[in-house]
Symmetry: C2
């Protein structure tokens, strides 16, 4: 997919002060993988990246599926994005390819400053539908971001609670791909 490698966003930083911040595609290196350990949703995805780096199966500074925001030198927010082939799923009409968004997380101390919104806005900027399965109680956040619950389908959703978002041009012109 076309990748806007960097986006500048205005983030609310205490008392109405705004700072400019950037969403960056994260590179796979030991520094990034060490920073990932600060996030609650550290799992086999991160361990697999570490193993691939250690065994030279991937090069240092390869692109990762993660995007993040740094505050000074510290990674304070991240998410993973992956483009799913729409023909294999039944979330969206007309088999649109869509983005699966997971591991959206902002570190404690940096929450409620707009970092999560900045990441989701970045994901939306690809112009594709998005599906996510939020792990924590965050209905208010996703509602504000325009995501809606799907109609439950056991075979497809099993124990998940998927939320979806569609760009306006797809909602209005069904049949027209982005």
């Amino acid at each position: 997919m076309k990748t806007p490698s960097m986006t500048t966003l205005s983030i609310l930083c205490g008392k109405g002060e705004h700072i400019m911040t950037q969403v960056k595609r994260l590179l796979i290196n030991y520094k990034t993988l060490e920073e990932f350990k600060q996030f609650k949703e550290y799992g086999i995805q991160e361990l697999s990246m570490l193993e691939d780096l250690e065994s030279n199966m991937i090069e240092n500074d390869s692109n990762s599926p993660f995007y993040g925001i740094y505050f000074a030198d510290k990674l304070v927010a991240r998410m993973s994005l992956y483009q799913v082939n729409g023909s294999t799923t039944t979330y969206f009409d007309h088999n649109h390819d869509y983005l699966e968004l997971w591991k959206l997380e902002v570190l404690p101390g940096y929450q409620r400053k707009g970092y999560g919104e900045a990441l989701v806005d970045f994901a939306k900027s690809f112009g594709r539908p998005i599906r996510t399965n939020p792990r924590v109680k965050s209905a208010g956040f996703w509602d504000k971001m325009g995501f809606e619950a799907v109609k439950y389908d056991m075979e497809r959703d099993k124990g998940e609670n998927p939320l979806i978002w569609e760009p306006a041009h797809i909602q209005k012109n069904t049949g027209e791909s982005a």
Copy 2:
């Protein structure tokens, strides 16, 4: 799938005392759905069952995909099981159908008494491979139950941390279906 509708198990109940308990397939009715609200992982699956009942799309006391354990009259533990067509997935060799297990949960006050193990043992009794994606930090439990982590595959696993278990007769006789 063949459904053992009930299994009697010996549960440790304080100070070495054992009581007999049963895993039951749960029926969809207003009492069950009200009891589900006590569980943390209440989501669109339960809401969908409630809507189907209210709109008469399913009958009162229909079988649900949930299995549970009652202590006296109170539902204290539950899980959901669903048979997945092995040809559409890549978790197990030879395209075995497998059981997806989710929403395994024991209510506070009833934990560490063997209810979780009883439910997983019940799931194993179908003789099929099992896949689960535990939501909470419970590696010790699943390890004790013989579940193992898979090798990460982003397209398949996305942000999940799946664990799998295979019956001995399948592990030993690959190519032989159950």
